[in-house]
């Protein structure tokens, strides 16, 4: 019935350390809703960012209505009729709704802004689609739902042929979601082609006509929605076997609780969550990214505040204890953003390892450097970190060795709880195995480990127990042996068993 309006052929993109997209083909027909699904890091966002002009592809080409499409910046993509609603709010809070909607393509008369025309356009648009937001309000005063509406209006106001929606319903309740769907079907009837990215399998089956599944930067398959069922899509998304790179923990003994959370909440991220972490246990926080797991780790570390509930460690309350005291008491946090807030990139290996445990070697305000060197060398030996010199710059090390440096840093504080966020991000396979062995060894010494990773295999391979998070709540608890990728995926998509 309808022809292809967009073709993306042979798209490849490499980021440092990862092949984000590998020879991906994607086609879109006029007037269809085409769902794009896959796990975190499968390449969905990268593919859409190439179409949206935020990222440039290494190889491949795009065609729009049979003509070669060449996009070098976001506004060009918008002008060619491609509207993009981002997953995270991509608005400027200090500007008004009107200014955000028309930013960089304002209506002007002789160079002077024509606010009235712009305001009229927005009002007209809102009356068609049933939005009610005062164009002169500041974005900082809007709720999350309203902000998202503004993004949709920005994408739609110049009649796009293609609309990209990246997780549009993540912040919406069911009424808002319904309204969005009715708008989408209105657009669909007008012939707009919609690319819909979502983790909510149920939604995809409700509104889409076709589904493209991506995994590890490759297209696994394209299916017509009415010829396929949910389980098939999930197994296409996941479909891997556990390799033998993980330590064998079947006979591992777990002790008494060391860290207890009781009804803790974090504003906008976590709602009333309770669980215990035991001595020598690896407790995995599962689920898709952005459902509160990362915030939970940071809050336990003391970096952000709990808005309710209590945290106990070894029987002591941590409620009025700041980050510094928590570190001194033995809580360590290995960040996911090694280069951003983990390592001191302009410093040496020794300094990077020693930084968190300076309080242990403090002699009347001076640092006992001999002892520091001894301790650092001890850890380097123990963890077989490959260096040429202890005063070597940290940037000379490979990703795997940098990750070990981060672990060594926190081991020097003599932790009883270690919070690890993405233990092997940007780390090659060989180094991954030795990181896993180190983690395994730590639990044998009785350290409790709370782990968050977006790599499903790693989560299952390492964890003794997995708590799956969905929208800030625990949506499933799985023990070692019973956890499969399908089960986790179901819980993580909010599908009730």
């Amino acid at each position: 019935m309808s022809s292809d309006c967009l073709k993306m052929i042979g798209i490849s993109k490499r980021f440092p350390g990862v092949q984000a997209l590998d020879d991906v083909d994607f086609t879109l027909k006029r007037g269809e809703i085409h769902a794009l699904v896959g796990e975190n890091g499968a390449g969905k966002s990268t593919l859409m960012n190439i179409l949206g002009g935020n990222v440039k592809a290494d190889a491949g080409y795009m065609e729009l209505n049979g003509k070669i499409l060449d996009i070098s910046c976001p506004i060009e993509s918008l002008n060619k009729g491609i509207g993009f609603v981002h997953q995270e709010s991509n608005l400027l809070e200090n500007l008004t709704v009107l200014e955000n909607i028309f930013l960089a393509r304002e209506e002007t008369k002789l160079g002077i802004l024509n606010h009235q025309t712009m305001r009229d356009k927005i009002v007209e648009f809102q009356s068609i689609y049933g939005y009610q937001i005062d164009p002169d309000r500041y974005v900082s005063s809007l709720s999350i739902v309203e902000k998202q509406s503004v993004e949709i209006i920005r994408a739609l106001i110049c009649d796009p042929q293609i609309l990209i929606l990246d997780e549009p319903t993540a912040a919406l309740d069911s009424n808002e979601t319904e309204r969005l769907f009715s708008i989408l079907s209105q657009l669909q009837n007008k012939g707009v082609a919609i690319i819909y990215i979502s983790h909510r399998i149920e939604e995809i089956f409700k509104i889409s006509q076709r589904i493209t599944v991506l995994k590890d930067g490759k297209v696994v398959g394209v299916r017509k929605t009415n010829c396929v069922d949910k389980d098939e899509i999930i197994s296409m998304m996941v479909g891997r076997v556990l390799e033998d790179i993980y330590p064998n923990r079947k006979n591992h003994l777990i002790g008494k609780p060391v860290l207890s959370l009781r009804n803790v909440s974090i504003h906008k991220h976590i709602h009333e969550v309770s669980f215990d972490l035991h001595e020598g246990e690896i407790l995995g926080l599962g689920g898709l990214e952005g459902h509160g797991q990362r915030e939970l780790l940071r809050a336990i570390f003391g970096d952000i505040a709990f808005s309710g509930g209590s945290l106990f460690g070894c029987g002591n309350s941590y409620d009025k204890v700041g980050m510094r005291k928590r570190i001194h008491s033995g809580i360590g946090y290995v960040t996911h953003d090694r280069r951003g807030d983990g390592l001191f990139l302009n410093e040496t290996v020794q300094k990077n390892i020693a930084i968190a445990s300076l309080h242990l070697r403090n002699r009347l305000g001076f640092i006992d450097t001999n002892q520091e060197k001894k301790k650092v060398l001890e850890k380097i030996e123990q963890m077989s970190i490959k260096i040429t010199d202890i005063n070597q710059s940290i940037t000379d090390l490979s990703g795997g060795n940098q990750q070990k440096v981060m672990l060594a840093r926190w081991l020097l504080i003599n932790p009883y709880v270690l919070l690890i966020d993405e233990p092997t991000k940007g780390v090659d396979v060989g180094a991954r195995m030795s990181v896993y062995q180190i983690i395994d060894q730590l639990t044998k010494e009785g350290i409790g480990i709370l782990l968050f990773t977006s790599d499903m295999m790693e989560l299952i391979g390492l964890s003794d127990r997995i708590l799956v998070f969905y929208e800030g709540k625990i949506s499933g608890e799985l023990k070692r042996g019973e956890a499969t990728e399908e089960k986790i995926m179901r819980a993580a998509s909010g599908i009730r068993e």
């Binding site: 400027l92 500007l95 930013l103 002007t108």
Partner: protein, 325 residues
């Protein structure tokens, strides 16, 4: 009634507060000191404030777009130094051409700052501090001590007075109206606010961040050059160090007027009010024979107090927003 601009509503309250403060200080001083309330002093006071108000307008553009310009003081100095050479002529026409050249030089200085910051990615603080040092050195090279001469008729024309209205006030009004139009009524004006808040998002929404960033510095350079010309015409000589206090004062005026040092927030009317408040306070202190040293202390203190007040009120507003959502 149609709303004229959008920005006007937002921090109107803040600007009204500053204007109220301004009038309160003014009225108290009028009661307190007879020499202050003299007609001569008041007209003089208005004229005195114009150079600072003018350079502060330029500074506001830069701060709103997320930068800072520490070179405006030296730009003013070098402009007076060059003016004392170029405007040292008997022909008013030549003096006029000379002053145009000085304005072009101001724009050029802004352009260099802007290119350094936006294309070579040198932080604004470093770029403008370096250009400031270079310019003050050049100013002293051109004119080692205060001297030279400004065409008398030209200077008299620039400082012409009609009872309370004077030429500098008219110049300030014209500049204010032009700059106001640029900031509130053109797409580039919205761009200043956009890149000041978040360069990355602004870029992803299609704003030409580099061009916008450069224009802010060009405007600052232009405004500083006008201030330099005004000062030269007032003194009738050039002075290679007269611009020094203007860097700090222009920043203080912007901040008092409600411009956020972290960028993306600020109004020109607030800056003008801030500049007049600073100008009036120095006039008052001279009137009360307060030692010059204490005036420095007070100016520094004023900047800190203003920052604290805005930071606290900002936090309150954020909390209120969070609660209402």
């Amino acid at each position: 009634m149609k709303k004229r601009g959008i920005k006007i509503d937002k921090q109107k309250k803040g600007v009204i507060t500053i204007f109220t403060l301004l009038s309160v200080v003014f009225i108290i001083m009028c009661f307190y000191s007879s020499s202050f309330r003299s007609f001569y002093n008041i007209t003089n006071l208005l004229v005195q404030c114009v150079p600072l108000a003018c350079v502060a307008i330029g500074q506001t553009f830069v701060i709103v777009s997320g930068g800072i310009d520490l070179s405006v003081g030296s730009t003013i100095s070098i402009c007076t130094a060059i003016a004392s050479k170029l405007l040292n002529t008997d022909s008013v026409f030549e003096a006029f051409i000379g002053s145009m050249l000085i304005l072009i030089m101001g724009i050029f200085i802004g352009l260099i700052n802007g290119v350094g910051i936006n294309f070579l990615n040198v932080p604004p603080l470093i770029t403008t501090l370096c250009s400031s040092t270079i310019l003050s050195g050049l100013a002293l090279y051109i004119l080692p001590i205060a001297g030279g001469r400004i065409n008398k008729d030209f200077a008299r024309f620039i400082f012409r007075k009609w009872t309370i209205i004077s030429m500098p006030l008219i110049i300030l009004l014209i500049i204010f109206l032009i700059m106001r139009t640029i900031l509130y009524k053109t797409s580039i004006g919205t761009g200043f606010y956009a890149i000041g808040k978040n360069r990355q998002i602004a870029k992803s929404m299609g704003v030409n961040v580099r061009r916008t960033g450069i224009i802010a510095y060009v405007i600052a350079g232009f405004c500083a050059a006008i201030t330099g010309l005004l000062l030269a015409c007032r003194m009738r000589v050039g002075d290679p160090t007269c611009g020094v206090p203007f860097t700090m004062d222009s920043i203080t005026a912007s901040v008092i007027g409600g411009t956020s040092m972290s960028g993306g927030v600020g109004l020109l009317s607030g800056t003008i009010a801030g500049a007049f408040l600073i100008g009036m306070l120095s006039n008052v202190m001279n009137n009360l024979a307060v030692n010059q040293f204490y005036q420095y202390v007070l100016k520094g203190g004023l900047l800190i107090v203003a920052m604290i007040v805005y930071s606290i009120s900002g936090q309150i507003e954020r909390k209120r927003n969070e609660r209402s959502n």
